[in-house]
Amino acid sequence: MSVEVAARELTFSQAINEALRLAMRRDPTVIVMGEDVAGAAGRAHLGLSDAWGGPLRATRGLIGEFGPQRVIDTPISEMGFVGAAVGAAMTGLRPVVEIMFADLIGCCYDQIINQAAKMHYMMGGQVDLPLVIRTAYGMHGFKRSYGGGAAAQHSQTLYAVLAHVPGLKVVVPSTAYNAKGLTLAAIRDNGPVVVMEHKFLGSAAKGPVPEGDYVVPIGKAEIVRRGTDVTLCGIGRMTHVCLEAAELLAARGTSAEVVDVLTLAPLDEATILASVARTHRLVVVDEDTPTASMARDIAARVADKGFDWLDGPIKTVTAPEAPVPFAAVLEALYAPQAANVVAAVDELFG
């Protein structure tokens, strides 16, 4: 039975949809809010409803099951509706808010970093803040389908500016399986959690997803490929790039271990350090720009706590220190690719 169930495949977005659906069935205080999480709001009398189901279709169908009281289309007011979600979370609801693209956190940054993140601490622990913020990040990289060619203001990987703030948990799923499990864990968490969903993975990452309720624990990295010569540390889509690089390296006789970071804050240092203790080499792969990035944060932590295990410098492979360009030929140069990772490993063994 369980084998049969595990064989079912969903896309990343379908897995998130299922997580939301299960959480909403289980707990009537879970609500979903955002711009066009349903679409065609107020047009039910014309037979129109659920026009979008979210920008990446992850909330499609929810309004049909749970109604407009719990699946709430908002005006274009990120600061306002994230603020409303904070107030709702303080007063008994568990809102799941969608910010269409991570680039838009500038429109609601205060509510995230000054309000949601700090309330539990600065109020002396008297309020829980069970708020989930889902947002799509990253660029497509190669194909001009959804998420590709969106240029500098719709393609960013802005998780470091969230992970930086104490009190916020930030998770970055990489597969349909962990997208569902991390989303369920985020909804169950009594504090604010940001779920960063890569645009490309939303439709492209298809994989086995068990039915029913399960969580992938927040704060745990996962070793997704065992190896002995070098640790490749990936975040979100970059985990797939690391796996691709590991295949190329294996063909050349280098055994790479791949760690999927999964949670950026609080970071699972132990799993990363334990891997480095075995392989003695580390390459961190991050789609974000390099200054003050997660890549350099992970590198700094390993340099601090794992220096004695290292047989070479820690390498980071990141996007360049530049905004995301529009032209396809330039965009193709932007995000790290497997070849870049292999080149970094080559430097370590060179």
């Binding site: 205080t29 609500i31 009281q69 719990r70 709430i72 908002t74 005006p75 007011s77 600061m79 306002g80 509706f81 994230v82 603020g83 409303a84 979600a85 904070v86 107030g87 709702a88 979370a89 303080m90 007063t91 008994g92 609801l93 809102p95 205060d110 509510q111 000054n114 309000q115 309330m119 539990h120 601490y121 600065m122 109020m123 002396g124 622990g125 008297q126 309020v127 829980d128 803040l129 069970p130 104490p166 009190g167 948990k169 169950r188 968490d189 009594n190 504090g191 604010p192 609080p266």
Partner: protein, 330 residues
């Protein structure tokens, strides 16, 4: 002096409660001011003195289960909603017994048990929290109402307009209470706000807006009651603008005469909300001794609050890292 409006006087107990709360706010702020002047390190504070009728008139229209979101100038809102002044004072002293266990200070005093969602010093940012509380009330199937207090300066923040629009679109039980004290820090309202009245803004959001004398607690109460009634009945949000005046600077140490005249301050103080309300009570036949007794009791409460704060323990070093993340029980 203009008589206070009294279309239908509230009952005796409510009148006395309002006087007691207004006096308690005044006593709290004035005693705090002397503590600040003595050099007690209470951090940045924004005195509410002069505006007491607004917080109390509004909160007198609320039930215990209703919610309020506050501003940087929030001590008055706290006391009016029923926060105990002892942990409030202890919070200002940074003590473990404070409302926020010494981790928030004046600008973050919160007591959700009495519906007080937090003093909030990022101007305007508490306003959508009230919208969220009202949304929560609806989803949870209760008839709770949420009040958003904000200054006239906050009406220049986009988030306040986003919040008003959402509350109106969703017809939520929110009362937007603008305390127009004439100044955003040292910037006069007539310079910074392109409207004759803040209440004119309400029309843009399909909700009623009124401007009342914020130095007249009964006028504030009457307007608040109507707005709360509308909200509770499911008729949506309202905007109540209360014309008021802060007697002291924006924060401690602010020299008000660098941006307003002594004449203006004197005139404003002639309309003192507490003195006017005391006269109403006298005219209603309350004995002077009874009113004086309330004042005396408020002084004692502040004696007790300060003693409590001074004798309370400091937070231990373990508090530095406690509650960064919310504990999640499975």
């Amino acid at each position: 002096m203009a008589p206070l409006s009294s279309p239908s006087l509230p009952d005796r107990a409510l009148l006395l409660w309002m006087y007691e709360r207004m006096g308690l706010i005044r006593e709290f702020e004035e005693r705090l001011k002397t503590l600040v002047e003595r050099g007690v390190p209470v951090g940045p504070v924004h005195f509410y003195t002069g505006q007491e009728a607004v917080a109390v008139g509004v909160c007198a229209a609320l039930r215990p289960g209703d919610w309020i979101a506050s501003t940087h100038r929030g001590h008055g809102h706290c006391i009016a909603k029923g926060v105990d002044v002892r942990p409030m004072m202890a919070e200002l002293y940074g003590k473990a017994t404070g409302t926020n266990r010494g981790k928030g200070g004046s600008m973050h005093i919160t007591d959700v048990r009495v519906g007080m969602l937090g003093v909030n010093p990022i101007v305007g940012m508490g306003v959508p929290h009230a919208v969220g509380a009202a949304l929560s009330a609806r989803v949870r199937g209760t008839d709770e109402v949420a009040v958003a207090f904000f200054g006239e300066g906050a009406t220049s923040m986009g988030v306040v307009h986003e919040a008003m629009n959402m509350a109106a679109v969703w017809s939520l039980p929110v009362v937007f209470v603008c305390e127009n004290n004439g100044y955003a820090q040292a910037t006069p309202v007539e310079y910074a706000v392109a409207a004759n009245r803040i209440s004119d803004r309400a029309a843009a959001y399909r909700m009623p807006g009124v401007t009342v004398d914020g130095q007249d607690v009964l006028a504030v109460l009457e307007a608040a009651r109507e707005a709360v009634r509308r909200g509770r009945a499911g008729d949506g949000p309202s905007l109540v603008e209360c014309m008021t005046y802060r007697y002291h600077g924006h924060h401690q140490g602010d020299e008000t005469l660098r941006y307003r005249t002594a004449d203006e301050e004197r005139t404003a103080r002639e309309r003192d909300c507490l003195r006017r309300f005391r006269e109403v009570l006298s005219a209603q036949g309350f004995a002077v001794a009874e009113i004086d007794g309330i004042d005396a009791r408020n002084r004692e409460r502040l004696d007790e609050a300060i003693a409590f704060a001074e004798s309370s323990p400091l937070p231990g070093p373990e508090e530095l890292l406690a509650d960064v993340y919310v504990e999640t029980r499975s």
